[in-house]
């Protein structure tokens, strides 16, 4: 069984936002502030004079233990066999419990196009199942996004995941994210 995940190398991200654009083109999302499947905010670390700006691409973490799936009343949010967390738009009634429960702010309400809660799918149906990479990964100029099977030691993503170099966000919550970050500055 594959366990799809993504490694994000913060050392290589230049904040160009091509991933955001590629995602919108591929998935026909709303293109509104706060209503995107992936975003690349610039975060500032430290205090003057030792300040550093880091681009931290954000998307759904496709948690192994997803809080959104646990709270969804209708089962619209679910995890596939490959560990990808998806939303069934027909079953979603838009109660927004998952939006509130997601620690990574990965979800938003799409009132216009899908009339449901929407989020990153890892391009599961439209690309990954056909053996292609997610749109954001394919377009990334800095090779900052690396997609693959985290359990496969022969893949680049798998090697990085097992190296101990890449870490999840908020590991304290026990959500076990499958998007891992290689820090530009030391995590702790």
């Amino acid at each position: 069984m594959v366990r799809y995940g993504m490694i994000i190398d913060l050392r290589s991200c230049i904040g160009c936002g091509a991933c955001v654009a590629a995602c919108d083109m591929e998935n026909d999302t709303l293109w509104e502030e706060g209503k995107r499947r992936t975003e690349v905010p610039k975060l500032l670390f430290g205090t003057y004079p030792t300040v550093m700006a880091v681009f931290v691409p954000r998307l759904c973490m496709h948690c192994d233990n997803p809080p959104c799936v646990a709270v969804c009343p209708t089962g619209a949010s679910y995890k596939t066999e490959d560990g990808v967390v998806l939303v069934n738009y027909d079953l979603c009634i838009g109660c927004k419990y998952c939006v509130v429960a997601c620690p990574y702010d990965a979800r938003y309400v799409d009132e216009k196009k899908r009339r449901a809660v929407d989020k990153c799918t890892f391009c599961y149906e439209n690309r990954v199942k056909q053996g292609r990479l997610p749109a954001c990964v394919e377009t990334c100029v800095g090779h900052a996004r690396i997609f693959g099977d985290l359990d496969d030691p022969s893949s680049e993503a798998g090697r990085l995941a097992m190296s101990g170099l890449a870490r999840p966000l908020r590991p304290d919550l026990g959500t076990k994210p499958k998007v891992l970050y290689i820090p530009k500055v030391k995590f702790e």
């Binding site: 905010p41 975060l43 500032l44 670390f45 430290g46 880091v54 931290v56 954000r58 809080p67 799936v69 646990a70 709270v71 969804c72 009343p73 209708t74 089962g75 619209a76 679910y78 069934n88 079953l91 979603c92 009634i93 838009g94 109660c95 927004k96 419990y97 939006v99 509130v100 429960a101 997601c102 620690p103 990574y104 702010d105 309400v109 009132e111 009339r115 449901a116 809660v117 966000l169 908020r170 919550l173 820090p183 500055v185 030391k186 995590f187 702790e188």
Partner: protein, 319 residues
């Protein structure tokens, strides 16, 4: 460094829903207790009916907040129903509460005396017990619902459902005070005296509940702010940040401190039952509790909103 954001998915409609669930559910609890204690049912019957209507209204707000309100039935009928979700469990509790609340309250109202169990006090009492239990579950559920959203550290405390229970019961007593005074104005003689007496009793209950609520609020904010940096951000927002006016003035002062003082004044210096007969009404002698009840209700609404609006999530922590 902490990258934090406030949850905005749940706003006023959900705050009103949580409030109405707390107030309506409590009115049936208080009504039933009053029914058993005083062996008189007319305050319990009308109060419970009002409680059920308030919860039903709250349910409409919940449905109105959905992105697809027309598909609300999927909460029960989805082919992949998740029985672990507190939206599903809450909907079930609300439905059973409304059903048993009506079964309990309706036969005691004169338009529904034709119902087969209307003359059987024992059956009505048992229905009352079931309705009051679901009423209490409704009150408790409103607190559990948001505590189960694990992303928000500020909500991760057993004191939050306790706060909602204390606030819910207090607003429920406030609602009963209104029903009681309206009934008292329309009654005469001995009955009016009885309503005035209940006004006194309800004020006492409310004062006790408000003091519990003040205590729980203090313990909750104090301990949760020490539990994690992001919960401390929420508490900071409530006390000193953008929510400080609604929270300190709306909840702490107008919703808790002033009503407590008013109820206290009424209990210690209010008029006696013999004076009320001379006053030919219950409105004026019950003015202090009625003012307190109005403030308690406003405070209850603002409290729900402030707690939701202070739901800060911390997404990235790095050094």
């Amino acid at each position: 460094m902490i990258e934090a954001g406030v949850q905005t998915a749940w706003g006023w409609l959900i705050a009103l829903y949580l409030f109405l669930g707390g107030m309506g559910g409590s009115m049936v609890v208080i009504g039933y207790l009053h029914h058993v204690r005083s062996k008189q049912n007319h305050l319990a019957a009308v109060g419970s009916l009002v409680g059920v209507i308030l919860v039903a209204l709250g349910t409409l707000f919940l449905i109105g907040d959905l992105t697809k309100p027309e598909k609300f039935y999927l909460v029960f009928l989805s082919p992949r129903l998740n029985p672990g979700s507190w939206i599903f469990r809450g909907s079930l509790i609300l439905t059973l509460f409304i059903a048993f609340g009506l079964l309990y309250a309706a036969p005691q109202i004169k338009y529904f005396h034709w119902l087969p169990w209307a003359k059987n006090e024992k059956v009505i009492r048992y229905l009352g017990l079931v309705a009051a239990s679901f009423g209490f579950l409704t009150v408790m559920y409103t607190g559990i619902l948001i505590s189960m959203a694990r992303a928000v550290a500020f909500w991760q405390s057993p004191a939050l459902p306790m706060l909602f229970i204390a606030s819910g019961l207090s607003t429920g007593v406030a609602g009963m005070l209104f029903v009681n005074v309206v009934q008292g104005i329309r009654a005469s003689g001995e009955r009016r005296e009885m309503h005035f007496h209940w006004c006194h009793e309800l004020s006492l209950w409310d004062a006790i509940l408000i003091s519990v609520e003040i205590l729980v609020t203090f313990l909750y904010l104090y301990i949760v702010s020490a539990s994690s940096p992001e919960a401390a951000l929420s508490v900071n927002e409530l006390l000193f940040g953008s929510l400080s006016i609604p929270f300190t003035v709306g909840v702490l002062l107008l919703g808790l401190a002033i009503p407590f003082l008013l109820e206290y004044l009424h209990i210690t210096r209010g008029k006696t039952a013999s004076e009320i007969v001379r006053d030919k009404g219950v409105f004026k002698p019950c003015l202090l509790p009625i003012t307190a009840a109005t403030l308690v209700i406003i405070g209850g609404i603002v409290l729900r909103y402030a707690i939701l609006a202070a739901g800060i999530k911390t997404i990235v922590i790095m050094t």
